[in-house]
Subunit: 267 residues, 2 copies
């Protein structure tokens, strides 16, 4: 099944297929009318510091929803279950990535606070609608993501480098891409850097730290957006006894429209 | 001393005059090049719920900065002291307003977490610069603020009505006012309501719940913005043993430019 076949799904259909194990791939290009979200689940005792980490770093960590401890049905997707409706999860223990899971129910705990953080996949449909090519969708792979040399602002034990996603565009397209994405602050907004990867500490675009490399054509400008994988680096630094995240690129698909409004955008 | 004389002050000069007791009035129109902020100080044990309350209600509670417990010198105003640099504070005990203070030092505690929340005074200079009249500045009084019938989203013990500030404009000015303020989400952004006060539960514009009434001319449209006094209603509902806020209209003047960028707007 190719991502393009899945692009027209409603969010609830996409989640159901994920839950049944019929869709296990990255979610770029899936149910493109709907906003997608990064997931972080932490024991309550660490939730306050992590919440502050997100507030201090709104570009990589724009909060869409924070669930009360133990809850797994978000308001942004009634009927969904955060424990089963993402294609792949990562389990961290004592600050180490110890494995990937397809189902959180065996490890779920009543003290887990779930954070849904905006994902840049959400602005790809508006880019396509403007006639712009999104390279990893054309290539049928995950978006490339890179650690940078820019530090996030710490909160409690959470600290670490900014992680960015990258999409290449022609120079004449760059302003339009910035304009379209700048309107969508809750899914990372405008790029944080245009061009020269070395200036933000990225040595080799063909070797992403997360996701897949994509072809870049001569003359194209790599645009970099703050990425919701950033908190996974923060989790490694915090060395928490227990934490769960989505696997990079394997997002939660909300019922929210891909261009908003998002919770709190309207009163 | 009239507000107009003070409009050109640098933020640090304004804070110094406040600290020396030379400026005790509302801060609308003071040091207009700089963003102003609402203040909430809470014991650490309640800070996490309040942080979540702000995250769930970003229109009334856009966070500019959250200080670590016990700290009173914010990053957005190096050298400032949150305990002395606002003209007037409110002290709450057991959920009741017990008094107003000019200086927090006698009641300051090492476990207090301070929240700085964006204030709509910050977008008044851009409105003036666009040739628009801001009525309470013309009148030389505080902005009028009203409780509405719209509920905020609860977090822990914090809940309560949305509070709004009001500024009247001619119908032909309304779109420009919306456009200018919509760009500034970190200081409340676009209005949440245009016209008919009764539709949001306001019976009488001449009797604000906070601040001062202003004259409204025939044909003018009242525009309502989510207001940083909203958390003061949330505090009353929470019935915390101890809490401090600014007195409505008596804000903290930051070093930030009035139109941003604000902390986290750029990485």
């Amino acid at each position: 099944m190719r991502a393009m076949d899945a692009s027209a799904w409603h969010a609830s259909e996409a989640r159901e297929r994920v839950r049944r194990g019929e869709w296990t791939a990255p979610t770029a290009g899936v149910a493109v009318a709907h906003a997608q979200a990064n997931l972080v689940c932490l024991p309550r005792e660490h939730a306050s510091d992590f919440l502050l980490y997100c507030v201090r770093n709104p570009r990589p960590c724009p909060l869409l929803e924070v669930l009360d401890a133990g809850r797994y049905e978000p308001e942004c997707a009634p009927g969904a279950d955060l424990r089963t409706d993402l294609p792949r999860y990562r389990l961290f223990e004592e600050g180490e990535l110890v494995g990937e899971l397809r189902d959180l129910r065996p490890v779920w705990r009543g003290d887990l606070v779930s954070f849904l953080i905006g994902c840049s996949f959400s602005f790809e449909a508006p880019l396509l609608a403007a006639g712009l090519e999104v390279r990893h969708l054309t290539a049928g792979c995950n978006v490339p993501m890179y650690r940078t040399n820019r530090a996030t602002r710490a909160a409690g034990p959470f600290r670490g480098p900014l992680v960015v996603s990258m999409r290449p565009f022609r120079p004449d397209q760059v302003p339009r891409v910035v304009e379209i994405t700048a309107r969508l602050a809750r899914v990372h907004g405008a790029p944080v850097h245009a061009g020269d990867p070395a200036a933000i500490g990225i040595d080799d675009l063909s070797r992403p730290d997360y996701g897949d490399a994509v072809p870049i054509r001569a003359g194209e400008v790599p645009l970099f957006w703050a990425c919701g994988v950033t908190p996974q680096e923060g989790l490694l630094a915090a060395r928490l006894p227990f934490a769960i995240t989505h696997a990079p690129g394997h997002m939660f698909i909300t019922d929210l429209p891909c261009s908003g409004p998002f919770p709190g955008d309207v009163v």
